[in-house]
C-alpha cells in the first residue's frame, strides 16, 4: 500500500492530538486520502501518547501502522521518541523535541532517564536522519510554553513542498481563536528552524 506514514508521540498534555489533527487536515487539503488514530483517555494524565497518521494516493484501510512502517516521526519528548523507534523505516526521519519530561518513576529514583547522547545514538542507529529541535525554548521565547506543538508543526512543514497556506489554515482550524496569533508566530518560528536544519 502506497502511503506516507507519520507517527506523533509524546506525553499527555503536550498538544500531540492537535498536532495530529493538523497533519491530517493538511494531507486532505493536499489531495491525499487520509486516516489517523489517536490514543486518548487515561493517557492524557501525563502518560505516553501516540497518534498514527497516514496520507495515501489510494484508499487507505487501517488508520494505524506497525513496526518499520513509519516515514516521519514527530517526537515531542526524547524518551517517548526512543520508545517508538521500532515503528520507523530504516529510511525514516525523526524530528525530536529535546524537552525532557522525566516520568514519576525517574523522579522518585526507581528508574534512570537515559542520557541525551544515548538517546540520539540509538535513534541514529535506527533511522536515516534525526533532527533535534529545542521547540520549548522557542515557545518560551514567544511567551507561551503551550505552543511547542505548533513550533514542531512548523518544522515538519518544511519537509514537504505543500503550500504553507494549507498548513496555516489547518493550524487556524485547530487552535483556540484566542491564541491564534501566538500559534501562527510559533508556526513561522518552526519553519525558520526547519529551513536551517
Amino acid at each position: 500500500m502506497n502511503s506516507i506514514n507519520f507517527l506523533i508521540c509524546g506525553v499527555g498534555g503536550q498538544g500531540t492530538v492537535v498536532a495530529s489533527d493538523i497533519v491530517s487536515e493538511v494531507g486532505l487539503k493536499a489531495g491525499f486520502h487520509v486516516k489517523k488514530s489517536d490514543v486518548l483517555g487515561l493517557a492524557v494524565r501525563g502518560g505516553s501518547v501516540i497518534s498514527h497518521i497516514r496520507w495515501g494516493r489510494d484508499e487507505i484501510h487501517a488508520p494505524m501502522v506497525g513496526q518499520k512502517e513509519v516515514d516521519l516521526m514527530l517526537a515531542f519528548e526524547p524518551l517517548e521518541g526512543l520508545r517508538r523507534l521500532n515503528f520507523m523505516k530504516d529510511s525514516g526521519k525523526i524530528i525530536l523535541n529535546t524537552q525532557k519530561i522525566p516520568p514519576i518513576s525517574v523522579n522518585t529514583g526507581r528508574e534512570e532517564y537515559p542520557s541525551m547522547e544515548k538517546i540520539l545514538g540509538t535513534l541514529r542507529r535506527g533511522v536515516a536522519q534525526v533532527f533535534p529541535v529545542d521547540a520549548l525554548a522557542k515557545a518560551l521565547e514567544l511567551g507561551n510554553s503551550k505552543v511547542v506543538n505548533i513550533v514542531l508543526i512548523g518544522v515538519l512543514s518544511t519537509f514537504f513542498t505543500i503550500d504553507s497556506q494549507h498548513w496555516k489554515d489547518s493550524v487556524k482550524k485547530f487552535v483556540a481563536p484566542k491564541f491564534l496569533e501566538v500559534n501562527l508566530k510559533a508556526f513561522e518560528a518552526g519553519r525558520e528552524i526547519g529551513a536551517s536544519l
Binding site: 487536515e25 501525563g46 505516553s48 487501517a62 506497525g66 513496526q67 522518585t108 507561551n144
Partner: protein
C-alpha cells in the same frame, strides 16, 4: 463536502442529519466526544444532555421517542450494563419515532475495567445491531438505523469501538432530513407502552416475527457487502478489523457485514459456497464464528486469531503466517531498546486529589476505590486505592467490609460525578443498615477523567444553560449521615486531620468532602513554586506527592549523597502541596506567573 471526522464526530453528524431531536448519555471513554460534538456543532437542531447515568439516559430517550421524536443514547462499553435494564423493555414496547443506542467498545482495554464484547447484547436483548468500520459508515449507519427503527418498531444498536471512535477518516456530509417525526401528544396506548406481563407476554411473538422480517431485510440490505476477488480465500468480517483485513489480505474475497444481528443466513451460505477456504476475522469473542458454525458451515476463526486484545494488522499478519494462510515475510530488524523507564499516568500538577492520597498513603488504611482520575492513587508513589471495579462500587464494598467483621476501619474514595451516577444508593444503604466507614467524596467540580463534562453538582448543562447546583453536603446530610465535613482539598493538614476524625467516628458512616477544583476547571494556575537549595536537605519527602513538576536537581546533599529537589516552573501549577509536606520549609512560591494555555 468531504471532511475528516473521528468516528465519534461522524456519529454526532449522523444524529444531526438523521433528524435526532434528543441525544443523551453519560460520559465515558471512548464515547464521550459524540454528545460534546452534538452540543457544540448541532445545538440549534438537537437537544443534548449529560444524564446522571446511562440508565437514566436510556429512559430519557425512550420518553422522547414515545413522544414522537427521534432520539439517541451514547455509552461506553460498561455503561451498557447500566442501561440494559431499560434498553430491554424497548423491543417489547416499540416506539413512536426512531431510537438508536450507540455503544463504544474498548478492545485492548485502553481506559476501561473490562473488555466485554457488547455484540452479545443484541442477541440477549433481541435488538438489531449495526457495526460501522469507518467514519463515513458511522454517519450513514446512524441515519439508516433511525429509519429502520421506525420501520421495524424497535430500538437499534450501533456498535463502535475505540479505534473507530478516535480515528479520523473522510466523510461526505449530507443535509438534515426534511421529513422527520415531530413531537405530538403522548400516546395513551397502555397495551403497547406498559410492560405489564399481561401485555408484554403477547409481544414475545411480535419480537419473533420482527426478527424474521429483519433477517429478510439483512439478506438484501446494502449494509452487507460482498467484495469478490480471489475466491481461494473468503473472509467474513465487520467493524474496524475488516479494514485491517483488507490491508493484510489485499486479494482475498470479503463478506463485509454491516448488520451483525440478525445475520443474513443465505448471503453467508452463498459466500461460503463461492470460496475455497472460509475465515472469520473478528476481535474479542467468536460472535460471528459461533453463529456461522451453527449454520453448519465450515469456517476457521479463533483457532487462528486470539479472542482478546486488538488484532492490529501486524498481529493479524503474524497469526495468518503461523496458520499458513500467508507466506512468511522476512523478519524485521528491530533495535533492542533495553528497559526504558515506564511512563504511567499521574495526577496532573495542581490536581486536588493529591493531598488526599498523600494522607491515605501515610495512614495506610484500606481504601475501596471507584472510577475516575482518583484511581491513579492506586499507582506509585501512593499505592493507596486498593480496589476498583465499577461505578459506585466503592461505597457498597465499604459497607461489605464493615459488616464482614473486618478488624480494620475502611475508606471509600468516590468522585462527585461518580457519586451522582451510582454512589447515592449505596450511601443510603450504609445509613439504613447502620454501617461504619469513611466515605471521601472527592468534589473537583467536574467529570474529570472523561474530559470535564458537567454533572448535577455544577451550575451549567451540556447545552451551556445555567441551572441549579445540587449541594453535595446538603444532599449527604439529607441522607442522615451524622458526620459530614467539607475540607479544602489542597490543605494537607486539614485533609489528614479530618480523615483521622472520620476514622474515629462510630455512629454510622462518616463523610469527608474534599473540595478543590480540577485544574482544567479552574484554569487559574497560581505562580510556580521553587526550591531553596540552601534549605533543601534532599530528604525526598516532596517526591512522595507524586507530582511530575517535582524533579531531582543536579545538586547533591553531601551528607546523604542524594540529589536535592527542583521544581519545573513550566509544569508547576502552584497548588503548594509539595511545599506543605517539606519538613525544612525549602519550597516557596515565586511571584512570576508564566503565561500558560
Amino acid at each position: 463536502m468531504k471532511v475528516l471526522l473521528t468516528g465519534n464526530e461522524a456519529i454526532a453528524r449522523g444524529a444531526f442529519e438523521g433528524g435526532v431531536a434528543v441525544a443523551c448519555g453519560y460520559p465515558g471513554t471512548p464515547s464521550s466526544e459524540i454528545l460534546e460534538t452534538v452540543a457544540r456543532d448541532y445545538r440549534d437542531s438537537v437537544y443534548a444532555e449529560w444524564s446522571v447515568n446511562e440508565k437514566v439516559a436510556m429512559d430519557v430517550a425512550a420518553g422522547a421517542s414515545y413522544s414522537g421524536v427521534r432520539s439517541m443514547v451514547t455509552t461506553k462499553l460498561v455503561g451498557m450494563n447500566v442501561l440494559s435494564d431499560s434498553l430491554f423493555y424497548l423491543p417489547y414496547t416499540g416506539l413512536e419515532a426512531g431510537l438508536v443506542v450507540v455503544v463504544c467498545d474498548d478492545t485492548g482495554m485502553f481506559s476501561s475495567q473490562n473488555e466485554q464484547d457488547n455484540r452479545w447484547y443484541s442477541i440477549l436483548g433481541k435488538i438489531p445491531m449495526l457495526e460501522p468500520s469507518d467514519s463515513q459508515e458511522c454517519k450513514d449507519m446512524v441515519v439508516e438505523a433511525l429509519r429502520l427503527s421506525e420501520r421495524f418498531d424497535t430500538p437499534f444498536l450501533i456498535r463502535s469501538e475505540m479505534r473507530i471512535a478516535h480515528s479520523k477518516s473522510e466523510v461526505i456530509l449530507g443535509e438534515r432530513e426534511k421529513e422527520i417525526p415531530l413531537p405530538k401528544n403522548f400516546p395513551r396506548d397502555i397495551q403497547k407502552y406498559n410492560c405489564n406481563a399481561l401485555f408484554a407476554r403477547k409481544k414475545r411473538e411480535v419480537i419473533v416475527r420482527r426478527f424474521h422480517d429483519l433477517k429478510e431485510f439483512s439478506e438484501t440490505s446494502n449494509l452487507n457487502r460482498v467484495i469478490l476477488q480471489d475466491t481461494q480465500m473468503g473472509i467474513i468480517s465487520s467493524g474496524i478489523v475488516y479494514e485491517y483485513a483488507r490491508e493484510v489480505f489485499p486479494s482475498a474475497s470479503f463478506l463485509k457485514l454491516g448488520m451483525i444481528h440478525p445475520l443474513p443466513e443465505r448471503l453467508i451460505r452463498d459466500f461460503a459456497k463461492r470460496c475455497k477456504t472460509l475465515i472469520v476475522i473478528e476481535q474479542l469473542d467468536p460472535f460471528l464464528e459461533t453463529q456461522i458454525k451453527a449454520l453448519g458451515i465450515e469456517v476457521k476463526g479463533k483457532e487462528i486469531f486470539p479472542p482478546y486484545d486488538e488484532i492490529l494488522p501486524e498481529k493479524m499478519r503474524e497469526c495468518a503466517e503461523k496458520a499458513g494462510l500467508l507466506k512468511p515475510s522476512s523478519p524485521k530488524k528491530v533495535i533492542d531498546l533495553g528497559d526504558l523507564p515506564t511512563r504511567a499516568a499521574v495526577f496532573c500538577p495542581g490536581c486536588p486529589h493529591r493531598a488526599t492520597f498523600y494522607a491515605l498513603s501515610k495512614l495506610k488504611v484500606p481504601v475501596m476505590g471507584d472510577i475516575g482520575c482518583y484511581n491513579l492513587g492506586s499507582l506509585p508513589p501512593f499505592n493507596a486505592q486498593h480496589t476498583m471495579g465499577s461505578m459506585g462500587a466503592s461505597i457498597g464494598q465499604l459497607h461489605g467490609v464493615s459488616v464482614s467483621g473486618c478488624p480494620e476501619r475502611a475508606v471509600a474514595t468516590i468522585g462527585d460525578s461518580t457519586f451522582f451516577h451510582a454512589g447515592m444508593p449505596p450511601l443510603v444503604n450504609m445509613v439504613h443498615n447502620r454501617s461504619k466507614g469513611v466515605v471521601i467524596l472527592m468534589d473537583n467540580s467536574t467529570t474529570a477523567m472523561t474530559g470535564h463534562q458537567d454533572h448535577p453538582g455544577m451550575n451549567k448543562t451540556l447545552m451551556g444553560v445555567s441551572t441549579e447546583r445540587v449541594d453535595i453536603q446538603q444532599l449527604v446530610e439529607a441522607m442522615k449521615v451524622k458526620f459530614v465535613k467539607s475540607v479544602n482539598a489542597f490543605d494537607v493538614k486539614e485533609v489528614e486531620n479530618t480523615l483521622k476524625e472520620c476514622l474515629a467516628w462510630d455512629d454510622g458512616p462518616a463523610v469527608m468532602i474534599t473540595k478543590g477544583e480540577c485544574i482544567f476547571v479552574s484554569r487559574k494556575p497560581k505562580p510556580a513554586y521553587s526550591v531553596d537549595l540552601n534549605k533543601c536537605v534532599a530528604c525526598e519527602t516532596c517526591l512522595k506527592v507524586g507530582c511530575s513538576a517535582v524533579v531531582k536537581s543536579e545538586e547533591v546533599n553531601p551528607k546523604n549523597k542524594r540529589k536535592k529537589a527542583r521544581i519545573d516552573p513550566v509544569l508547576c501549577n502552584g497548588c503548594g502541596v509539595c511545599s506543605q509536606v517539606c519538613p525544612t520549609g525549602a519550597i516557596f512560591q515565586t511571584q512570576e506567573l508564566e503565561a500558560k494555555e
